[in-house]
């Protein structure tokens, strides 16, 4: 697989390590009354879809940036690559 890095252009997926579902960016609030349940769900449960999947890749052998990659788990086709920082900033902006 080739990951089209937003800053560095097309890079071999071997340069990256994989973390998992991009929902890991949305850490629950530890002040919440149901924080225990929410952290359990956040850490252990996954949608695990067959089809489009937003996921976190780390450019370990490159610029060490975190990326949010939108990839189809049935075909391995990558449709979108964003810097995770940009995704997180957009979320903060919405709050």
């Amino acid at each position: 697989m080739i990951i089209n890095h937003p800053l560095l252009g097309p890079r071999d997926s071997q340069e990256f390590s994989y973390l998992g579902d991009a929902s890991l960016l949305d850490r629950p609030d530890w002040h919440d009354v149901s924080a225990l349940q929410k952290f359990h769900d956040y850490l252990y449960l996954r949608d695990n879809p067959a089809g489009e999947h937003r996921e976190l890749w780390y450019h370990e052998a490159g610029d060490r940036s975190w990326l949010v990659v939108t990839r189809n788990t049935l075909t391995h086709e990558i449709s979108k690559v964003e810097l995770a920082q940009d995704v997180a900033d957009r979320k903060d902006h919405k709050k």
């Binding site: 973390l19 998992g20 349940q37 359990h40 850490l43 695990n48 067959a50 990839r71 788990t73 391995h76």
Partner: protein, 416 residues
């Protein structure tokens, strides 16, 4: 029809015209007591033991494609009982004991071959860890022998003992480990279940569940609605997709694991070997091909095929352990979808929905577990209580903190 040497001779005189299909092809009935979703090794074993050991009847196995078309036909065929942790080892030892009597039990030649499995060790700390694991195995009734480099050399003289980076310090030998003809496991269980009245319904995809007041009443399928008193879901890599129809999210990610077969060679590998540094394991099939594999590709996938970096990686570490391998041509490779759980251990448990049971999360170790998984799941379905050897495989163990993490990797499924 009972299979035996006598039967083969008798049929030979009749021009082999007397053989019958090994199982029927029934149409689904309106309702059953037990509906097993998934006609793989575990699902067929569950149905077989439900009928044989628990005396249950009115059982159906629903399979989307043909039986044995999933991971039971796509694995590297190894069986072993060499786990460390308490929640695991009694279960896998039970499984290995069932393998040892399986062919007589279901009257089918599954070519169970206990040719020995050797984990190679490449540092003092690995030798210490292997000694601890070996003791845990022996305490649970399994077998283990710690070999010196000379002991390893007697069995496998062609390994790279003096490798500069990873010299061989010894090995943990599990003599009862070995291989089984994987497809024959599915066929043997299917035939045994069918003979005991189980309906094996192929080309029958489950498309939904009928759940009312927190109780499952049946399943919608591509061949119509089928009512059920109890439903067991055993669908390996598709676990999340099927259970999603009930509204459940699972502690599972689906990943692709590749395996490889070389061209046929004369006998060279007498048993199963695993490399202790990189993830590499190999055995030789009866046809002569070296069967080998390594790590997961490492990303979520339902594609049943992997990418080239892992092919290169597995071949490279294989050749570093076993230099002669570099002259061997690879014949084919394939990928299977693994239901990787959050601690690397499986689930055999009831769900919050009454009458609905779940068996999955086998990661890439499901094949060796087939007999015990079937037996324990049948126990749970029939009695409503977990089998003593599968009590730890609960779906809520991440909430209660009772993880069974053999690799010590935490909630990172691609590392287990």
């Amino acid at each position: 029809m009972r299979y035996s040497g006598f039967r083969v001779i008798k049929e030979a005189f009749g021009g082999h015209k007397g053989w019958k299909p090994a199982w029927r092809d029934p149409s689904p009935q309106k309702d059953y007591d037990f509906v097993i979703i998934g006609g793989g090794g575990h699902g067929l074993a569950t149905a077989y033991y439900l009928a044989k050991e628990f005396g249950e009847s009115r059982i159906a196995v629903l399979e989307k494609g043909w039986i044995g078309s999933g991971n039971v036909g796509r694995n590297t065929t190894m069986i072993r009982s060499n786990y460390l942790l308490d929640g695991n080892e009694p279960f896998y030892e039970m499984s290995l004991k069932l393998w040892e009597g399986l062919e007589q039990d279901f009257n089918f030649n599954a070519m169970v071959s206990q040719r020995g499995l050797l984990n190679l060790l490449h540092s003092d700390s690995q030798v210490d860890a292997a000694r601890r694991r070996g003791n845990a195995m022996i305490l649970n009734g399994s077998d283990a022998e710690l070999l010196t480099p000379e002991g390893v050399r007697k069995l496998y003289p062609f390994l790279d003992f003096e490798n500069q980076r990873f010299p061989i310090y010894g090995g943990l030998l599990h003599r009862r480990g070995g291989t089984v003809r994987h497809d024959a496991v599915a066929w043997g269980y299917a035939r045994g279940a069918d003979q005991r009245g189980v309906d094996i319904i192929q080309n029958c995809e489950v498309t939904g569940f009928k759940i009312e007041n927190g109780k499952v009443l049946g399943v919608e399928t591509s061949r119509g609605y089928i009512g059920a008193r109890k439903v067991g879901c055993v669908v390996a890599g598709s676990s999340s997709r099927v259970m999603q129809m009930t509204g459940m999210r699972l502690p599972i990610e689906s990943h692709v694991l590749q395996a490889f077969v070389s061209e046929g060679l004369k006998p060279v590998l007498p048993g199963v070997i695993t490399f202790g540094v990189g993830h590499f394991y190999a055995t030789q099939s009866d046809k002569g091909g070296l069967v080998f594999g390594g790590d997961l590709d490492g990303y979520n996938s339902y594609a049943q095929r992997g990418n080239l970096p892992i092919v290169e990686h597995v071949a490279a570490i294989g050749a570093s352990l076993f230099p002669a391998l570099s002259r061997v041509r690879m014949l084919r490779s394939w990928g299977g979808i693994m239901d990787m759980s959050m601690d690397g251990s499986p689930f055999i448990d009831r769900t919050p929905i009454d009458g609905l049971y779940f068996n999955g999360g086998w990661c890439y170790g499901g094949f060796k577990a087939t007999p015990a998984s079937g037996m324990c799941f049948a126990h749970l379905l029939s009695t409503g209580r977990p089998h003593a050897n599968a009590q730890a495989y609960r779906l809520d163990r991440f909430m209660s903190g009772r993880m069974i993490d053999e690799a010590g990797q935490g909630a990172q499924p691609n590392l287990h």
